[in-house]
């Protein structure tokens, strides 16, 4: 069983066919903290996009809550010019709030792909509804991190490496 959501989602996606209509676009799933859980395209922008997804959704939610807006419908968030842009939906995977986003280009029916995205993500959520992370590991991951280890990690930041 996968130990974390990234691997759990990756395992499920292997068995679920991503609809062709959305597969041609860039699909991303991130958790609430902006960590990328899944992307259908290996893209150096995935990390930054995931961070933005979390911020954009939570800021929008905060804005609505200020107005005490109550809705019984599922909320969607979008930014497009009719055929280029992105849309995102919130999905709960293993009881954890996550955000699924599709960035599209030259798409004639953004509403349709948003619906397909939601349906596909609902299948993932359904497969993972009983998933739980492994029992809590005790203690600290690292003991006594040394200054030398940190210096090696930041080797690019040492005086010798400065441009």
């Amino acid at each position: 069983m996968a130990e974390n959501l990234q691997d759990a989602i990756a395992d499920i996606v292997k068995s679920l066919t991503i609809p062709t209509r959305i597969e041609k676009h860039h699909v991303l799933i991130s958790n609430r903290d902006g960590v990328c859980l899944y992307s259908n395209k290996a893209n150096e922008l995935n990390i930054s996009m995931s961070a933005l997804l979390g911020g954009v959704w939570q800021a929008s939610q905060a804005l609505i809550e200020l107005n005490q807006f109550k809705s019984h419908n599922e909320v969607k968030l979008g930014f497009d010019d009719g055929e280029n842009g992105f849309c995102m939906v919130r999905i709960d995977i293993a009881k954890r709030p996550c955000y699924a986003c599709i960035v599209f280009e030259k798409e004639m029916a953004p509403g349709a792909i948003r619906t397909q995205l939601k349906l596909w993500c609902d299948k993932i959520a359904d497969e993972l509804k009983l998933w739980q992370p492994p029992a809590h590991r005790n203690g600290y991951l690292f003991k006594d991190v040394t200054d030398e280890e940190i210096d090696r990690l930041f080797g690019f930041g040492s005086k010798e490496c400065l441009s």
Partner: protein, 196 residues
Amino acid sequence: MSFVNYQRKEINCKIVYYGPGLGGKTTNIQHVYKKTSGTSRGQMITLNTENERTLFFDFLPLELGEIRGFKTRFHLYTVPGQVFYESSRKLILRGVDGVVFVADSQVEKMEANQESLKGLEQNLIFQGHDLEKIPLVMQWNKRDLPNVTAVEDLERTLNPRNVPSFEASAVQGDGVFETLKMVSKLVLMNLKGGLS
């Protein structure tokens, strides 16, 4: 909140630069961005106003390499410092693993520093953090300016817990990496989840 993938051996941690407006938070991560090689950092995101003050947040992902077999990724965020962006600061602090408080050393900014620090503490408590345990580093920025408060006074007023602190001039790059290295070390040592 840190995200550890034991199978892929990856760690993702969130560090937030906090402090009063125009104190040097964005300058800090801009310096980090400028000095890191392309393979060690991702795309920097800046969401700012017309006069380039942070509107929502700045974001810089750093992929630093490995520590004890774990690929380590730090997500650096800054918050907007102006007083009326309190809602945004609360959002950006969610899931934080470590904080750098960037204080403006100028004499006339002491009150702003204190207000901002108080806001940080309140926001951290509201989110369930233990102020004694969360990795926190103080940075006394703008030491290059002529009219600055003595470091001893900054320490006494703003650092009663004696967390690690560094003098800095972010605009010149001094103290930026020292601060970041220390908060990174504290964050890594605070990560839960010992290897079985």
